[in-house]
Symmetry: C2
Subunit: 511 residues, 2 copies
């Protein structure tokens, strides 16, 4: 028996005396042939080029490791290239300068509450405690410029979120890519990781890639083996665009539902990680953005009508009951499930406002409304009768729903659903009215591989780290729990990407 | 490229054209050494001796297969030996004889609704449609005797549940074991399955067991290889008693919470199935029985005080607010989460009634009340002041909560939580009062290995069946979804156990 096997056996016996979890050493890993000679050799091999992958590569390079990034798509950035780039930092220097009280503990409490206690407390603590230090590092080491106007999005108990000056996630990707290029760290696009090379001794020693891979053409490109002397970091993102994989986890999210993700958000690396013995947890928690239009690809823009005009200055309407059906300010899970229920019963969920809601939309997001009207994602109706007719609603009930909303607004009280009301909101008039259809889009995978707090990937047989394998970002499960709060994914990617890079760089080389 | 690999590749390409899911044949399975000579040989090897395993063995034997059952514990039955033995059969002959309208479609709708749409519709349809035929089979082929007094438990839209005449799950296990013994099918206790032997061609060809295994002594017993000429059936049950495995999936369910399960309900086979490439889904959905006493092992008896005296004829109380906190007739998930929230905030959740509730308990479950009082799992208090003092509640608020309940009962309306009221319920008097502390116990794993409708286990790389491997019972995921309805687990075990046995028996032999 090897030392590792003996240690595992003893630990297993100590922790779960009654579990009978005897693991013979030869079975602990799924063995892959390790080539006598690799085609390429690095200290640290990073798979994926989103926030987590780029950050990991920078941190590994900073720590002196010879590093390379492999990306299956033809472009750099993965889903991060579509991100709004909003980062939560509890207890930041920016908050202190502005006199805003906050702390890592306050965000920990928010994440545990919103995540319904499914997120691991130790992982949550780690990202919250490291957020401030990592934020400073993004400025110094990457050169990210942050807009210091703080906001608090749904679920945050303090104003602690910042967006890049550039205005999207590109404000992180562009400087990170520039730094890596300047440092001579290659970012190899069109390179699909088809195998993690895990040896009979349980250690990961490299990967097999397909160079010149064309997404959507299975088997394209040329197979090459890449040695990772110290470690492989999986920063492979979520599977939101992979209908087959996600439907097995949540049958509600079939072909009928679109995604905000880029097409490369597939489950290949999830399957491969499982195959070589990584443990995947909570993968059935798949977050949707509730208020997107089914008529647009990606995230689209009609969602801004729903979240500004139709929420702050209007309400949401089920065509089945001709009335409201949910707290428009509920978390994404609550709103998504409520809208899916309306749609699955054959109805439509509409965001609704009058001209006043449109006026505020124009102020906050200038120029978008005309595009929505032109595209037909927002429709205009002269009055309640016209709207009711178009969506087969009962006009009397629709008028009653509007009257009830106005009554609630006057009292600032919503007995049925408990929504809040904006200070600037006015009563809904007699028309014209505007509506957008809402259909949840698959957005973020909360589950993923199980990791130790230091980002080591855990073995499904033992729950102990797999030597030579780390992971970070959306590919990792158990941090956000049941519901991810906005701006916390970027925090997770940056903190854990950096941690994975540092840990990988200091792993003992196997060759 | 093998034919299987080519078929998989083509299917993959057709189903997910953009997924890039190229799977080289040599990687599709985690390879195990297949011995040149096995120690024992059967057509069908069944792992686990609960409802699903015994039923599978009977069906395989009926179909002409040489069959054996291996059970790691020293006793037969697993968790099924603790089951209440209640079976749901929609549209049964018993319902027809009693003029009760019901249908498989009605139970399908119940399961999809209560399961929050997470159960796979095709799997749900299969168990509901096959329930009636399987029920008749249990009488003819096994000799189970059913009490034909029909009941409808929480979540069921019709009276469709039956209990064995014997009164528990033993009413199924005892005759099934007798039939298997008479047929010469061995049920080998003390035999731990330590490996599934999956060959390089992707097929499962047998298992390695440890004969003479003593539960809690890892590595005990003698290793033996067992050939499965046609198939292996995994009927290994849930992991409710495995704190380490379940805590990674739901950190709330740590050491502090007890389980209703037998100690052998560990995750060994879950880990092994993952290792050889089975896909596990929805494992984080772990059902608890909400109203158990923390002072008892297993399911205990105080739960009957909570569900009869404290629900039908009383109510549940949070010591934090000195008032009600949930619909006492909500589903298990709703009640569990509400009670966990009270406990995690430092309070206690109490089931509460007066003498009238105790009187009904005595009628429905004679003799239990005295045992509860003697064990201290139910406590008696002279009046509201005494109860409030013992649990640090506000006596005025407690009296107000009682008055509010009485008021609701008179109006048969519960505006806050929407509970129902029993016809025979009387207003709560001025004392004495009785309470039991409630602490959810881990009860049932809704997740498990992903299977095709014919019970084939699916490969995590391809979502295609793993040749030679079937599964049934609690070990399988994706049938009950988010919340399992009572009496549906027994239905699932019997229907899918039988299906697995029939499918395994007709699999082509590999040797």
């Amino acid at each position: 028996m090897t030392q590792i096997a003996r240690r595992r056996l003893l630990q297993g016996a100590a922790l779960i005396p009654a579990a009978g979890a005897f693991v013979p050493a030869a079975q602990a890993a799924c063995v892959n042939p390790i080539p006598a000679k690799f085609d390429e050799t690095y200290d640290v091999v990073v798979i994926g080029s989103g926030f987590a992958g780029l950050t990991a590569a920078l941190a590994a390079h900073e720590a002196g490791a010879k590093t390379a990034v492999f990306e299956k798509m033809a472009f750099i950035g993965g889903n991060s290239s579509l991100s709004g780039g909003m980062l939560a930092v509890p207890g930041s220097s920016v908050q202190k300068a502005q006199g805003i009280k906050d702390s890592p503990e306050a965000l920990e409490a928010d994440m545990e509450r919103i995540g319904l206690g499914l997120g691991d407390p130790a992982h949550i603590r780690f990202v919250c405690e490291k957020a401030s230090e990592t934020f400073e590092w993004t400025k110094k080491a990457i050169g990210v410029e942050w807009n210091e106007n703080l906001t608090g999005k749904g679920g945050h108990s303090a104003s602690r979120c910042m967006i890049t000056k550039q205005g999207t996630g590109q404000g992180i990707i562009v400087p990170a890519v520039a730094k890596l290029k300047a440092a001579g760290v290659p970012i190899r696009t069109g390179c699909f990781m088809e195998a993690v090379l895990r040896d009979a001794d349980g250690r990961v020693k490299g990967v097999r890639i397909r160079e010149g891979y064309v997404f959507g053409k299975p088997g394209s490109g040329k197979a090459k083996t890449v040695c990772a002397r110290r470690a492989v970091i999986l920063a492979c993102g979520g599977f939101g665009a992979d209908v087959r994989y996600r439907k097995a986890l949540d049958p509600k999210l079939g072909e009928a539902f679109l995604t905000t993700n880029q097409p490369g958000a597939t489950a290949d690396a999830w399957r491969e990680a499982s195959r070589i013995g990584a443990r995947i947890i909570q993968a059935d928690w798949i977050q949707c953005l509730p208020s997107c239009s089914p008529l647009e690809q990606g995230m689209g823009i009609a969602t801004h009508f729903a979240s500004i005009s139709g929420s702050l200055f209007g309400f949401w309407l089920s065509t089945l009951s001709s009335s409201r059906f949910v707290n428009e300010f509920g978390d994404r899970k609550l709103c998504t499930d409520a809208i899916l229920t309306v749609i699955n019963k054959g109805g439509e969920a509409l965001a609704f406002s009058d001209d006043d809601g449109v006026k505020h939309l124009e102020t906050l997001r200038p120029g978008l409304f005309a595009k929505m009207l032109a595209a037909g994602t927002v429709e205009k109706f002269a009055d309640a009768d016209a709207l009711a007719k178009a969506y087969r609603m009962d006009p009397a009930k629709l008028r009653a729903a509007i009257a009830e909303y106005n009554d609630n607004l006057a009292k600032k009280s919503d007995p049925k659903f408990g929504r809040r009301f904006d200070k600037a909101a006015k009563p809904i008039g007699s028309g014209p009215y505007y509506v957008s259809r809402m259909s949840p889009k698959v957005h973020h995978c909360m589950g993923g591989v199980a990791t130790a707090v230091n980002t080591s990937v855990l073995d499904v047989m033992t729950d102990e780290p797999i030597p030579g394998l780390f992971a970070a970002g959306e590919f990792v499960g158990g941090i956000h729990g049941a519901v991810r709060i906005g701006a916390c994914a970027v925090m997770d990617c940056l903190v854990n990407g950096r941690e994975a890079g540092m840990e990988a760089a200091k792993s003992t080389a196997w060759i």
